[in-house]
Symmetry: C2
Subunit: 197 residues, 2 copies
């Protein structure tokens, strides 16, 4: 009989991050994570397919936040405006009180190539899902792919800035600024008249 442990996934995730950060990702086993919060390895694997996945728990909620932003963009919004709305909504998934957690989590990921790979995989998936949502709003194939990729690039850069030690601004504010910088950059290329041939 399977006993349901309320909040088990969250407890396991918190414990895992602590152990990864102090002992190292490779040096920590799923059994140790489970035991540290009084759970069994079996419970661990009921929630997570592997040890890497525990760091990416809840990411479908981030994807949903992006998609909610696509939905709430006004009719007639351009692809980049829709992406801006998705970024605002996605950023709300990371309130300021989450910053210390995100910072520790990222330092664990950055130290492990397999985790970096998983992260790139997740971001690639986010870009694909976002592009699909843009297409579903009638944006054409190429524009949807480009706008979605641009959105994920902006998000990645903004996120890396948000977790810097001295950073105070919200993720939404940083993302908006990075997106504006992208628009400024591309406008400069167009305005020069030399542009890309």
């Amino acid at each position: 009989m399977v006993r349901w442990e309320p909040g088990a996934a969250e407890r396991l995730q918190k414990a895992a991050l602590e152990l990864f950060a102090t002992r190292g990702f490779e040096q920590t086993t799923a059994t140790e994570i489970a035991q540290s919060v009084g759970l069994t390895e079996r419970t661990f694997f009921r929630h997570f397919s592997d040890k890497r996945e525990v760091l990416f728990y809840g990411q479908h909620l981030l994807v949903q936040a992006f998609l909610a932003g696509v939905d709430t963009a006004p009719p007639g919004a351009s692809p980049i405006e829709i992406v801006a709305s998705a970024l605002r909504s996605g950023a709300s998934f990371f309130p300021d009180e989450r910053r210390p957690y995100s910072r520790t989590r990222q330092s664990v990921i950055d130290q492990n190539p397999a985790l970096k790979e998983r992260e790139r995989h997740k971001l690639a998936g986010l870009a694909t899902t976002l592009a699909d949502a843009l297409r579903a709003r009638g944006v054409d194939e190429l524009a949807a792919t480009l706008a979605a990729q641009a959105g994920v690039t902006v998000f990645g850069i903004a996120f890396a800035q948000w977790i810097r030690e001295d950073e105070q601004r919200s993720l939404a504010d940083i993302a908006a600024e990075v997106l504006r910088e992208l628009l400024t950059l591309t406008a400069r290329a167009t305005a020069s008249g030399r542009g890309p041939q």
Copy 2:
């Protein structure tokens, strides 16, 4: 004594791709690849650190082609114009006669998650190197990262289009068109006045 096999890496790469495409990546060993062109496993591992790497042989030349394009961009070129120059130069690495090879190679990569991961890793490395080169030209941190990421995104989308069965245009032409589409997209967001908040 190590005997130098002229062109061994290229022969191994060609043989590997053929075996991967017909038998599958997982089902092919380094020994089989080596034996199929009359070489030893030892020779294989003198050239490639692992079986995955054989598909990415020569990628430093692609990176160099991008960097050459950064160097030849005129003084005063904007970041996106420098990236456009890098894309033209990078695209020259894929002449039309290479298309069938690239097509087969991509179908092998797309069928194997580990190879997809390695590919994402290589593209991430290209973006980092390109951003460094932009910074070395005096482009500021954020603009360099954004422009380099945009360049790699454009390259990835253009490449996927270039290897489609019915595609006739050169990679350079497709890349220029994808970049123009990105500029059009961002210009629309700026021009609407609503823009990203």
